[in-house]
């Protein structure tokens, strides 16, 4: 097990290093280097040279990459040349908003998706199961940003039940502001979780130990919830890690539609300003979070299911 964990962490590190290098190379392989793009068409050669020096772009590429990694490891993600503030500080100040949104999205999709899956699995091929199945597919297929826009139009603008913009003040205010964005990022995962729980529940229900428990005369409730669900829920728990990673992408839309502060909003604004240090920093942080989340879920998965350890 330890070997698997070490190997998996090693792989994750290699992937992060490769991904960041790729990103760095991409930025510098493009015609018209970042400094020129940032300063716009009216920049003088002196200004460009000055910015080059400040961003360390006058050194050879391998040196740039290595020194970039060195700085990243010491917690320095560079300086935002527009606001004259360290990128790391800007990112850290908005990370909580994004994490809260992702957490709320996961929480409500677990709270609805798992019961939906259990309910369907206990009544296979009933009309309720069929409706739940269609809904699950629909939730998965519908693009989150359209769902968010419709929710904004209906519940915030037309009905006025929820605020249109911002992150909210105080606990109640923040919670009130969180409802629609969390609904937006979580809806697809309700579908995913319902499907996964239903499938694994059906699988476990067909197993011998369940039949045995029934033969012993244990009440249905006990069999279903203490014997079946406890096992059937594992795939759903491990996929939450992947869900967290995937939601880091989904939050971009939710944060823009509902004008919430966060990583998505940050990169959106940075892209409009062509603010390269900030873009690099945000992509670096989200990619790392993404890889960490998937790695953790793989390791949890391996802890629960020893067969997976063989595969790496």
């Amino acid at each position: 097990m330890l070997v698997y964990v070490l190997k998996r962490i090693g792989l994750a590190l290699v992937i992060i290093i490769l991904a960041v290098t790729l990103l760095y190379l991409m930025i510098h392989a493009v015609p018209g280097d970042p400094a020129t793009v940032m300063l716009g068409p009216r920049a003088t050669p002196e200004l460009i040279a000055q910015l080059h020096q400040r961003m360390g772009l006058d050194k050879p590429l391998p040196v740039q990459i290595i020194s970039f990694f060195g700085r990243v490891l010491s917690g320095d993600l560079g300086t935002d040349v527009f606001q004259e503030k360290p990128v790391a500080g800007i990112i850290i100040s908005v990370v909580p908003y994004t994490l809260i949104l992702v957490g709320a999205g996961i929480a409500w999709s677990l709270a609805l998706g798992i019961p939906l899956g259990v309910f369907s699995a206990l009544r296979p091929d009933s009309w309720i199961d069929k409706v739940a199945g269609i809904l699950s597919v629909a939730f998965i297929a519908m693009p989150a940003f359209v769902v968010g826009l419709y929710a904004l139009l209906l519940f915030a603008v037309t009905l006025g039940w929820f605020p249109v913009i911002g992150g909210g003040e105080g606990f109640a205010g923040q919670l009130h502001h969180l409802v629609l964005p969390a609904f937006t990022v979580g809806l697809g995962w309700v579908g995913y979780l319902a499907r996964i729980v239903r499938a694994s529940m059906l699988e476990v229900l067909a197993e011998n130990h369940v039949r045995h428990a029934r033969a012993h005369g244990l009440p249905q409730r006990v069999v279903h919830y203490q014997y079946v669900l406890r096992i059937a829920i594992l795939p759903a728990v491990t996929i939450v890690g992947i869900g967290i990673g995937a939601m880091l992408s989904g939050v971009v839309f939710a944060e823009i539609i509902f004008a919430r502060p966060g990583l998505g909003k940050l990169i959106f604004v940075a892209v409009q300003q062509r603010n390269f240090p900030l873009i690099m920093g945000t992509v670096l942080v989200t990619t790392t979070l993404f890889v960490v989340a998937t790695t953790l879920s793989d390791i949890v998965n391996a802890l629960l299911d020893p067969r997976i350890r063989e595969r790496l």
């Binding site: 597919v137 139009l153 995913y192 992947i242 992408s249 971009v252 990169i267 959106f268 892209v271 992509v283």
Partner: protein, 288 residues
């Protein structure tokens, strides 16, 4: 001749199964509708989708404007129809190219030497490690927003999906008896890849490609909505939504009718894809 017959029989068989799946039929109808409107866009539009008539701005649906007008008085119906062409173009081009590249890389990875396999897997994992939207935004900053940029981004992030699926299929095939006997009889690598492996991985890949189309449509619309995709005034579904979002307090119609085709199309392709998958290959389950 015999070959066409065989194909026809296959299609008839698929249809016979599909008929029993009501959702599949609904999906098929929507898909036909969207592809039809993309092909016949020029005949179906009422007025030039970029023509302004400021006097008629923010009109609700009426006889003259079936789906209302936007903030510049443009006919939303005509913009939605013209947008279907852009959505389908992006989806078909991006999916076929990434499926093609994924096919080649996946077969090479499955049948090639170990080091090649490992480096391919590492490449796939690295490409998959970027959160999609963040990666797309970074690329857009670099090469500028356009339909080509979007297609390029989608290709890059979809390659791992196809590559991994093809690799798994190839590995299974490699150990099957008929491939082993081909190898024993001294078949060359190109012959193995082209004649024996390719036809056998094509089916599952087609289903995967069909399931990927709605994802691509959503991505194109999403990036255009953010203002990083198809440039205005060209009508893309995402652009219609972006205009609707900016003027959400003036009129709900651009938002409603800009979003509806995206939801309908993604649902249509997904329902059709799910039914086809159940019909053609009950074992294949999409990797999550």
């Amino acid at each position: 001749m015999a070959r066409t017959h065989k194909r026809l029989d296959g299609l008839i068989e698929i249809w016979a199964h599909l008929r029993r799946e009501p959702l599949g039929i609904v999906g098929l109808l929507i898909v036909v509708l969207v592809i039809g409107s993309a092909l016949l866009a020029d005949a179906l539009i009422l007025v030039d989708p970029v023509k302004l008539s400021i006097r008629d701005k923010f009109m609700p649906p009426s006889l003259a404007y079936p789906l209302g007008t936007d903030y510049l008085g443009r006919d939303i119906y005509s913009r939605v129809i013209a947008g279907s062409r852009i959505a389908m173009t992006a989806a078909l081009v991006a999916v076929s190219i990434s499926a093609g590249i994924g096919l080649v890389l996946g077969i090479a990875s499955g049948i090639g030497p170990r080091w090649l396999d490992y480096s391919m897997l590492l490449l796939f994992d690295t490409l998959r490690s970027f959160p999609v939207v963040m990666f797309a935004l970074a690329v857009v900053t670099l090469i500028g927003p356009s339909l080509t940029t979007i297609i390029l981004i989608i290709i890059v992030i979809s390659i791992p999906l196809f590559g991994r699926a093809v690799r798994t299929q190839t590995l299974t095939l490699k150990n099957s008896e008929f491939i082993q006997s081909e190898i024993a009889m001294g078949a060359s690598l190109p012959r193995l890849m082209g004649v024996h492996i390719l036809p056998n991985v094509l089916g599952p890949i087609m289903i995967l490609a069909a399931m990927e189309i709605p994802v691509v449509i959503a991505m194109e619309a999403g990036l255009s909505f953010l203002g990083f995709g198809v440039r205005p005034p060209t009508p893309s579904w995402g652009n219609i939504l972006n205009d609707g979002f900016k003027y959400i307090r003036n009129s709900p119609w651009p938002l409603i009718f800009g979003g509806a085709p995206i939801i309908l199309t993604t649902l249509g392709f997904t329902f059709l894809g799910e039914s086809l998958r159940d019909v053609l290959d009950p074992r294949l389950r999409k990797e999550s």
